[in-house]
């Protein structure tokens, strides 16, 4: 924001909001990376650490909650300030959900580590997660730089995640058909895949909020969606 507020403490408030969001974003990104890492390396200790760290994100979200309410009540922000505060509130909730999904992945990792590995499903999940991770990173950059193009780009990239999810769904179903002993592991993996896909959705939602923050409007066009897992049948 190029101009400073006449009341300088307002600037400080908004700056603080930004830094908490940045911290939360960084944390969520790390959680996802660690969770998927733990899954592929069957690293129980790392998975436990991820579960533990989620509390930190929850605390930050609470802080954002309280802080935004305070800013709304005391500063009565208008225009881009109003959007900044509202977007921060929504983003905090998105990021908190992302943290939850990461934790979920870690929990399932604990279970999966005790089982035989199934095919190369974890590699596909890792690819998906990397994609989502880069989306998180980009959307946080877009947020920090008020970069409309970058935010819109992130929004479009969720399509790839959906495609990967659909193919993974197919793959896991195939494994289960091949050998019923795989069912337990595959079901867990299905949930893991779903969690990562959901994280992608939340990132998309954040990207839409960043779009609103920068332009003042919701993105007008329909976002391409390619998650066909709900219609997938394996003969």
């Amino acid at each position: 924001m190029e101009h400073e507020h006449i009341v300088s403490s307002f600037d400080e408030d908004l700056g603080r909001l930004d830094s908490i969001i940045a911290e939360m974003g960084g944390l969520a990104e790390r959680q996802l990376a660690d969770a998927v890492d733990a899954l592929s390396r069957r690293d129980v200790a790392l998975a436990k650490k991820v579960i533990e760290s989620d509390k930190q994100i929850d605390l930050l979200e609470e802080e954002i909650d309280n802080f935004t309410i305070r800013v709304l009540a005391l500063r009565q922000p208008m225009a881009e300030d109003l959007r900044a505060v509202v977007v921060a509130l929504k983003m905090a909730s998105n990021l908190e959900r992302i943290g939850d999904y990461a934790k979920n992945v870690a929990k399932r990792t604990l279970t999966l580590s005790a089982m035989e590995p199934v095919g190369n499903a974890t590699q596909t999940i890792q690819r998906m997660a990397r994609q989502v991770q880069s989306m998180i990173k980009n959307v946080l950059d877009a947020y920090g730089a008020h970069d409309l193009a970058k935010a819109d780009d992130v929004r479009m990239r969720d399509e790839e995640v959906d495609l990967m999810h659909t193919s993974l769904f197919r793959e896991l179903l195939t494994y289960m058909l091949e050998d019923p002993r795989n069912i337990t592991a595959c079901t867990h993996l299905l949930f893991v895949a779903k969690n990562v896909e959901r994280i992608g959705d939340h990132v998309t939602s954040i990207a839409e909020n960043v779009h609103f923050l920068v332009s003042g409007d919701k993105p007008a066009d329909e976002r391409p969606k390619n998650d066909l897992s709900s219609q997938t049948i394996v003969e």
Binding site: H3, H5, F10, P77, A79, E80, L82, S215
Partner: protein, 274 residues
């Protein structure tokens, strides 16, 4: 969503905008320049004001919003050295045209001022003054009726019913301002101009006036100058932002306060150093 920066809006677009609002424009200003002596107070203002809505004029002090408001009932006529150029139309008729009677105009365009200014007369006489000088009441009972209805509409009747003969200046600030509103609507104007009507009032009195304004817009077109952006946001449907004698931006109040387009508007509504 419609972002109407009027200066950029062609005649065609304006018709569309009208269609969207589905209400005709009560007041239209076209290329209005105002000079006080050699000093130009307003520069090429184009502004359309829809009927039965509250239009808020906002902007920093000295931006010309009060000057513009006072052009609408030609209150500037009495200011020495004040010159108005351009066209301001009320229902399509130029109020600055030759032969327009100012007295008649002011009966159609009422005004409420910043400081409550009831006449030092009784409450009854305050409200009855307008109808009396314009000869609107045929009989004493007629007049009583007008006074009562006006006070009722201004939400003041219950508070003053048993002391209509008491001096209007003895009321509280908020009541005085509502008395002034009652006085203005007693002549059944079409447009009511309000020049910072709440700036001298406490928050509760302000809230009552705002509630009243909200009710009044059913029957009147209200144009209000205010320094409080929150107030503009609360009561108006349309907002116009003035800066250094220019109309910078106008549009739906929601848009002005959530996503202003012009940098100056942004800086003003967010409280930044512009």
């Amino acid at each position: 969503m419609e972002l109407a920066i009027h200066t950029d809006v062609s005649a065609n677009a304006r018709v569309n905008a009208q269609g969207l609002n589905s209400k005709p424009h009560k007041v239209t200003a076209e290329g209005v320049n105002v000079f006080y002596g050699n000093k130009q107070a307003l520069n090429q203002v184009n502004l359309d004001i829809p009927s039965n809505m509250v239009t808020a004029l906002i902007g920093p002090s000295g931006c010309g919003k009060s000057t513009f408001l006072r052009c609408l009932n030609r209150m500037n006529d009495v200011v020495d050295g004040c010159r108005v150029e351009g066209e301001i139309c009320l229902d399509g008729e130029n109020i600055y045209a030759r032969g327009v009677d100012v007295v008649h105009l002011r009966a159609r365009v009422g005004m409420v001022f910043q400081k409550p200014n009831p006449f030092p007369k009784s409450i009854y006489d305050n409200v009855a003054y307008g109808p009396r000088i314009h000869g609107l009441a045929k009989s004493r009972t007629d007049m009583d009726e007008i006074v009562m209805t006006s006070l009722e509409k201004a939400g003041l009747l219950d508070e003053v019913r048993d002391r209509l003969d008491a001096p209007g200046t003895g009321l509280s600030g908020g009541q005085q301002q509502r008395l002034c509103i009652a006085r203005a609507i007693a002549v059944e104007p079409e447009v009511i101009l309000m020049d910072e009507p709440c700036s001298a009032l406490d928050p509760i009195a302000t809230a009552k006036i705002e509630e009243l304004i909200d009710e009044l817009k059913e029957n009147y077109t209200i144009i209000m100058v205010t320094h409080s952006m929150q107030q503009a946001a609360r009561v108006s449907q349309k907002t116009a932002f003035f800066h250094l004698g220019e109309l910078v931006e106008q549009g739906d109040t929601t848009d002005i306060f959530t996503k202003p387009v012009d940098e100056r508007t942004k800086a003003y509504v967010t409280g930044r150093i512009g």
